[in-house]
């Protein structure tokens, strides 16, 4: 009997409603409701972001007609991006979309503060603006997002900096990529170093590059890249479908072009040559046109320096001392290669 009473009392304890039970139940219900709303908000935001990305992808990959989906922006790209750096060091773009122009992307910076500001575009460089100054500059920003930053210049250096994102659009397809596509992932580069007054080579920049870049092969595709009217013309070298070289030229001030930089993938040997190099190879002339070059060599016996199993070739300036070598088949061949120029690199390769 006592056991039965104990059991009934325990059951009574379980079913007894606590004084604050309703409040706890209400708090739980509200927490669940809040969580449901947060989840719904996150999902909605994700859908909106995904929708914007899809719309943006369609815009970038299409023919330049901007597709704006639900939740997207109707902002039209401007020809000149207007950026304001204020007294607090904040940067404010008046428009987030800017359209590329034939010579690059135009960016105007206004310094509304009372201290000089530095202005930079990630990966490309920067500029400065004095208090109250408004200036427009042109940058070689590829299509896509670009981070622009602004910072106050103080005696202690650059102060508070802030950044914003510009989206460069290229509705007319002006930009031609020039980033190297090296299979090895490794590249090299060099920059031209000239004294004031140095004179370059007149003519079309692509032809100048074709004439003065060494290491080109005759089936390389050499063409203008970047923006078509950029102040520093960019020429890319495409070999077997990949960009393996990039040359940037600069104006010498009198209509000629100097090399500003030469870049190449490892395994290539691009450089700048004052002497015209041309593009290697027969350039349309039939192979048998070289028969004439060999007439003199052929007249010699099989033991001359250019005729025989053990050949000799000397290099001086941009020339070799022969354009013809004759050698016997089936025998091991050697070339004794002499470099007659101090400090000049050279090598010989054989192709078929």
């Amino acid at each position: 009997m006592r056991d039965l009473r104990s059991r009934l009392e325990r059951i009574g304890e379980r079913v007894r409603v606590a004084p604050d039970a309703f409040e706890r139940l209400e708090r739980t219900r509200r927490r669940h409701e809040r969580n449901r709303r947060i989840t719904a908000g996150v999902v909605a935001l994700s859908v909106a972001v995904a929708g914007s990305l899809i719309a943006f992808s369609a815009f970038r990959g299409g023919d330049g007609v901007r597709t704006v989906g639900s939740g997207g922006s109707n902002e039209a790209p401007v020809d000149v991006a207007q950026l304001t750096c204020d007294a607090s060091g904040s940067i404010t773009p008046s428009n987030s979309l800017v359209a590329a122009q034939p010579n690059g992307v135009h960016v105007a910076i206004s310094n509304t503060g009372d201290t000089p500001v530095s202005f930079s575009i990630e990966g490309l460089g920067g500029d400065g603006a004095e208090p109250g100054e408004h200036k427009e500059t042109v940058w070689q920003i590829p299509p896509g997002p670009a981070t622009v930053s602004c910072g106050m210049i103080t005696d202690g250096g650059t102060g508070v900096a802030s950044s914003a994102t510009l989206e460069v659009v290229d509705p007319n397809g002006l930009y031609v990529p020039a980033d190297l596509e090296c299979a090895s992932g490794e590249a090299y580069g060099s920059g031209g170093d000239y004294a004031d007054g140095a004179t370059g080579f007149a003519g079309d920049p692509v032809q100048v590059a074709r004439d003065h870049v060494s290491g080109l092969e005759f089936d390389d595709l050499i063409e203008r890249a970047g923006y078509p009217d950029s102040r520093l013309p960019v020429i890319r070298v495409v070999r077997d479908g990949a960009i393996v070289g990039k040359v940037t030229l600069r104006d010498d001030g009198s209509g000629g072009w100097l090399d500003d930089s030469v870049e190449g993938c490892s395994g290539t040997r691009f450089g700048w040559s004052v002497e015209p190099t041309g593009v290697s190879g027969p350039m349309g002339q039939p192979m048998n046109a070289w028969d004439a070059l060999c007439a003199t060599v052929r007249a010699g016996d099989g033991n001359s320096v250019h005729n025989g199993a053990d050949l000799r070739v000397d290099g001086r300036d941009a020339d070799l001392d022969t354009s013809c070598l004759i050698a016997p088949a089936g025998r091991p061949l050697t070339i004794l290669f002499g470099n007659l120029d101090d400090g000049v690199p050279r090598s010989i390769s054989i192709y078929r």
């Binding site: 092969e217 290697s280 070289w290 070059l293 941009a318 070339i335 690199p345 192709y351």
Partner: protein, 46 residues
């Protein structure tokens, strides 16, 4: 240009180097100074 059958080691400055090419089949081949591609010619193996 086709493919390289032999790529000579780069030599910088006054000096000499011996390239061992191996054996070649009869035919016409193209050689060049890779640093100065305008310096080029034909290798006739016969």
């Amino acid at each position: 240009m086709g493919h390289a059958l032999f790529s000579g080691e780069l030599i910088t400055g006054v000096g000499e180097i011996v390239y061992e090419l191996g054996r070649f089949e009869p035919g016409e081949y193209y050689f060049q100074d890779d640093v100065h591609p305008a310096a080029n010619g034909v290798l006739v193996v016969e």
